[in-house]
Amino acid sequence: MLQSLVPLLVDGLANAALIFFVAVGLTLVFSVLRILNVAHGSFYSIGAYAAASIGLWIVSSGFSPYLTFPALLLSAALVAALFGPLVERTLVRWTYGKSEAVQILVTFGLFLILEDLQRMVFGVQSLYEDTPMALLGITEIGGIVYLNYQLLLIGLAAVVIIGLRLLIRHTRHGKFLAAVVADREVSQTLGIDTNRVFIMAFALGVFLAALGGALATPTSGVAPGLGAETVVLAFAVAAIGGLGQIEGAAIAAVIVGLARVLAIYYAPALDAVAPYLVMLVVLLIRPYGLFGSVTTRRI
């Protein structure tokens, strides 16, 4: 049993790592900007398209295939630089303080626009670019074969969690970020440029989503509809962890990853249902998620 469960587990955790990147971006944007971005998954798929396209270009142009690794990062950074400030300054900014319904509708509109833009730019075909995965090869331990790329994904997720923690706790900009999360009005009176913090947080969120997408291309490629599938998974993970909770998103991603592994193992038909079932159960017991907290209204 263990023989078949362990590879599944690694598979599940690698998957969880990818979803974590998107979910943590979503949750970060929510905690700073108080916005649930329905178009967040689109940045994942745009990141994936960018990484696949750049990777394919590198390989076909005869450059060193090892350049595909920095290309993954570069594509995520490109997407963040292109969309982060632009979208925040135009659409998202306008919805601050508006009702959730309006925020959801505006970002849904953005989602629709980005869906068609992707089709126009990248076409409707699936793209596969697995050079990074092929280059890293496999490791064999005790007769079980692991994809090194998957181990890398898990490691990177850990790096991102620690990195975010360090960023928020120990850098000036990070402390501004934390201050805005804690109390927007007070941080404004303290002279923190909240506009800049918003741009920064949104761009970072876009970067994380795009990074997830870029890192996913070597294992699963990219096809139309990816953004729509991803954003609901990211919602589920972010909601389970508690919207706005960074560590919560990490733990939730692992829970969802494991739930899927168990589902694949015991009830394959329930594989796709597992994340949402977990979300339902968690939210029914704790509406604010595992690590979320409650605010009550003063009267």
Binding site: S99, E100, A101, L105, V106, D116, A228, V232, F235
Partner: protein, 309 residues
């Protein structure tokens, strides 16, 4: 005034297919989606946005498919009534726990439930036909087996009649104390509770109603298309239903239908040259409406308050 508008709309809708026969199918689908959008609009009155309401559309549609395939029900009226009842019942069931939540939590939980349903519809191949879906044969009407075009007429005019009746009933409901309590949940739920009114019960009625409307729409769509697929329940469909409601305006009962008819007709007309950019266009339109015509949003534009779930 809204009633006059409703009657005028119905009259135009009744003669339109006579003038432009190829529009009839489009209009039937528009009615079906308009019903679902009306359901969503009812909930928006309470400030609640559901990005999972396509599930009730799907429940109505699959109920029709199951009734025909597994229980050999072929009668049009029975199918409509039974499918609508099944959706109403599911709405009551899910609503009982979903309407405890507000704001983003309500939206997300509806999304979660609808995604569970979507995944099950897609995965349980033996029962639901998986991603292939289920074919829906042409129902009989009062014991008569009809040719497809004749049934299409029956479905269209039947649907139109139902939409008219339902629109009238919802209009009355929104003007009633119960409807007023519904918007009161949005403006000041604490005050409403202090008036001795249970927001939970008020919302459960609204939620069940909205599920019923969506289910009726789903049943009509299933018969019109002759096929049901899991995508009916996918979250983007839910998003589209909300979009239709908002584009049409959620202030009255005519808005969601107007939005639905407008969108379906334009999409059909534009299929030749704008099919690839359709989402782009309606996405821009949605944002445009919210930016420039916020009055249609009926109070949703107010600055939000801190609310408990």
């Amino acid at each position: 005034m809204p009633l006059l508008l409703l009657l005028a709309g119905l009259a135009v809708m009744a003669v339109l297919p006579l003038a432009v026969p190829w529009l009839q199918f489009t209009l039937t689908i528009a009615l079906a989606k308009g019903l679902a959008a009306l359901g969503v609009a009812v909930l928006l009155r309470a400030g609640l946005i559901s990005i999972g309401h396509a599930m009730f559309f799907a429940i109505g549609a699959y109920a029709t498919a199951f009734l025909m395939r597994d229980l050999a029900v072929t009668d049009f009226a029975t199918l409509i009534v039974a499918s609508t009842l099944i959706s109403a019942l599911s709405g009551l069931l899910f609503g009982a726990f979903l309407v405890r939540y507000r704001a983003i939590f309500f939206a997300m939980l509806n999304l979660a439930v609808s995604m569970v349903l979507f995944s099950l519809l897609a995965k349980l191949y033996g029962v639901t036909g998986g991603t292939d879906g289920i074919r829906v044969a042409t129902p009989s009407v009062f014991g008569m087996a009809l040719a497809r075009p004749v049934f299409a007429d029956v479905l269209y005019y039947g649907g139109l009649l139902l939409a008219g009746l339902v629109g009238f009933a919802v209009h009355r409901y929104l003007k009633s104390p119960l409807g007023a309590a519904l918007s009161a949940i949005h403006t000041n739920e604490v005050r409403l509770e202090y008036l001795g009114v249970s927001a939970w019960s008020v919302l459960l009625v609204a939620y069940t109603l909205s599920a019923t409307l969506a289910g009726l729409g789903g049943a009509i769509a299933a018969m019109a298309i002759g096929h049901v697929v899991p995508e009916f329940a996918f979250w983007t469909e839910s998003g589209h239903i909300v979009l239709v409601a908002v584009l049409g305006g959620i202030g009255g009962v005519v808005g969601p239908f107007a939005g639905s008819i407008f969108l379906e007709v334009v999409q059909t007309l534009a299929v030749g040259f704008a099919a690839d950019a359709w989402n782009l266009i309606i996405g821009l339109a949605l944002i445009g409406v919210i930016f420039f015509l916020p009055r249609g949003l009926y109070g949703l534009m107010e600055t939000r308050r801190r609310t408990s779930p």
